[in-house]
């Protein structure tokens, strides 16, 4: 292949003056994680509520939560990004819309990106929560009710703690998805890891070094998440409870 490799480029200064290209990319990882983590909080909170609601006997609530899931599942992420970034400020009341539009960079991109990713992922979390609850033996709920707990208390103290443990493996993979998906925020101007690799390619013309470095950073991040989650899983394991992973593994 006729390509001039120059790995030294990673240590050269980037034109913005913040340091080397490598540092520039690592800061990008910082933004990736900051976006992913903030969105994860939203995704977990909404996902838990909506997923739980979908298993309740309350018909209208179930229907409403199903609609929520369908809407955010059937529109591509990048289109949702554009809705949050371009469309929402225009349809909000003028004052609020202007405030969103006038947020200084990078917050003007960061906030819509976090909201978008959070809600986009909440739908997937909700699916996992529902599947997790429905996989529990029915007796668990009944045992709770038999002890005199209310519906709310049964969910809070019996069902959800069990479900959280069952759901750890699927949630790990959702968390890795949110890290990967945060790259879509580059389309609304957020300079996270992929966006910075792209910018580095434009400044330095060293295409493959830029993308290779970004790829390596993503792989390392994945590794750390997997190991971390595995440790967490061991810590919260309930003796005798088959985890979703254990049951699903080949």
């Amino acid at each position: 292949m006729n390509y001039n490799w120059n790995w030294g480029i990673l240590l050269q200064a980037e034109p913005g003056g913040s340091g080397s290209y490598l540092q520039y990319l690592v800061v990008g990882l910082g933004w990736t994680l900051a976006t992913a983590l903030a969105a994860w909080v939203i995704a977990l909170a909404i996902g838990l509520v909506v997923g739980t609601l979908r298993t309740t006997p309350l018909k209208w609530i179930v229907r409403l939560s199903n609609a929520y899931v369908e809407v955010f599942r059937n529109v591509p992420l990048i289109v949702q990004m554009f809705l949050w970034f371009f469309v929402l400020p225009e349809v909000l009341p003028t004052g609020l819309g202007d405030w969103m539009k006038q947020m200084p960079p990078p917050w003007g991109s960061y906030v819509p990106a976090v909201l978008c990713l959070g809600i986009y992922t909440s739908v997937r979390v909700a699916e996992q929560v529902r599947a997790g609850i429905q996989s529990l033996p029915r007796g668990q709920g009944m045992a709770g009710t038999a002890l005199g707990l209310s519906l709310l208390q049964t969910y809070r103290y019996v069902i959800l703690p069990m479900v959280m443990r069952i759901m750890l493996p699927p949630l790990t993979s959702e968390f890795m998805n949110i890290i990967k998906n945060s790259s879509v925020a580059l389309t609304i101007g957020l300079l996270e890891l992929t966006g910075r690799a792209r910018a580095m390619q434009e400044f330095s013309f060293q295409v493959f070094e830029a993308f290779a470095a970004a790829t390596a950073i993503y792989l390392l991040t994945n590794l750390v998440v997997v190991l971390g989650m595995r440790a967490l899983e061991r810590k919260v394991r309930v003796p005798g409870l088959i985890t979703a992973q254990g049951a699903g593994a080949q």
Binding site: M1, N2, Y3, E70, V71, R73, N74, V75, P76, L77, I78, V79, Q80, F82, L83, F86, V87, E90, V91, M176, K180, N181, S182, S183, V184, L186, T187, T194, A197, R198, Q201, V207, F208, F211, A214, T215, Y218, L219, N222, Q250
Partner: protein
């Protein structure tokens, strides 16, 4: 905001579908076909008893699944011209349009996901079926082609289709290489006429209707297949 302007949609809708949606749908179908073929090969490799083959396929699948699609799109957008030049023996990178670059990217990327589906499908076929086929004298490829893959494929049709709906939505990311897919076409009109609200809302609506209808169809298919089995 000066009210919702339906007119811009009406003016551009023909262009959006003729250029944009055609691109999107063609890309989806080609990447689906290529991805399922390549993914099935990967699945067979992953299940091969020859360890290096299984390892290579496993590494490929895990790599693709660990990296954001946007980054993969960039990779291939810049890499394919070099690979093309290398294949036909040119010195300088060849020109590859956004469309073919996208077809190659999505085929290679989705293959990793189709691979895992087909792998589960192959593993769901009872071992006795393979034994019976071998006992009749069919060789590995005949056993795969006539006995295992048709059954695996049939069992996995709903999952493969669900993955294809995801692929259909994912193709909108070719926006990052300025391709004129459905979203790209809408973005062009939106920026030209400064009608972002209308165009992006319309795009969201169209994607929603198509994806929702398709998932509804897959779900009903799932019910029917479950009965037959």
């Amino acid at each position: 905001m000066s009210g919702f302007d339906f007119d811009v949609i009406q003016r551009s809708v023909w262009y959006l579908f003729r250029d944009g949606m055609t691109f999107t749908v063609t890309l989806t179908l080609m990447a689906m076909a290529g991805g399922i073929v390549f993914g099935t090969l990967l699945a067979m490799m992953r299940l091969a008893s020859f360890q290096p083959l299984a390892w290579v396929a496993g590494a490929y699948v895990n790599l693709m699944r660990s990296v954001p699609l946007v980054l993969v799109i960039f990779w291939f957008f810049f890499l394919v011209p070099y690979i093309g030049a290398w294949v036909i023996g040119e010195k300088t990178p060849i020109k590859v349009g956004a469309f073919w670059s996208a077809v190659i990217t999505f085929t290679m990327f989705e293959a990793a996901y189709y691979c895992e589906i087909m792998r589960a499908g192959i593993q769901s076929i009872a071992r006795g079926q393979v034994a019976a086929s071998l006992a009749l004298g069919l060789n590995y490829w005949q056993t795969m082609g006539h006995i295992v893959l048709p059954q695996a494929f049939r069992n996995m049709v709903p999952v493969l289709l669900t993955q294809t709906i995801i692929l259909f939505q994912d193709t909108s990311l070719v926006y990052v290489i300025s391709a004129t897919d459905f979203l790209g076409a809408a973005a062009k009109v939106a920026n030209r006429d400064y009608r972002l609200v209308e165009m992006y809302s319309f795009v969201a609506l169209v994607y929603f209707v198509i994806s929702f209808a398709a998932s509804y169809y897959v779900r009903s298919l799932q019910g029917r297949i479950a009965v037959v089995r």
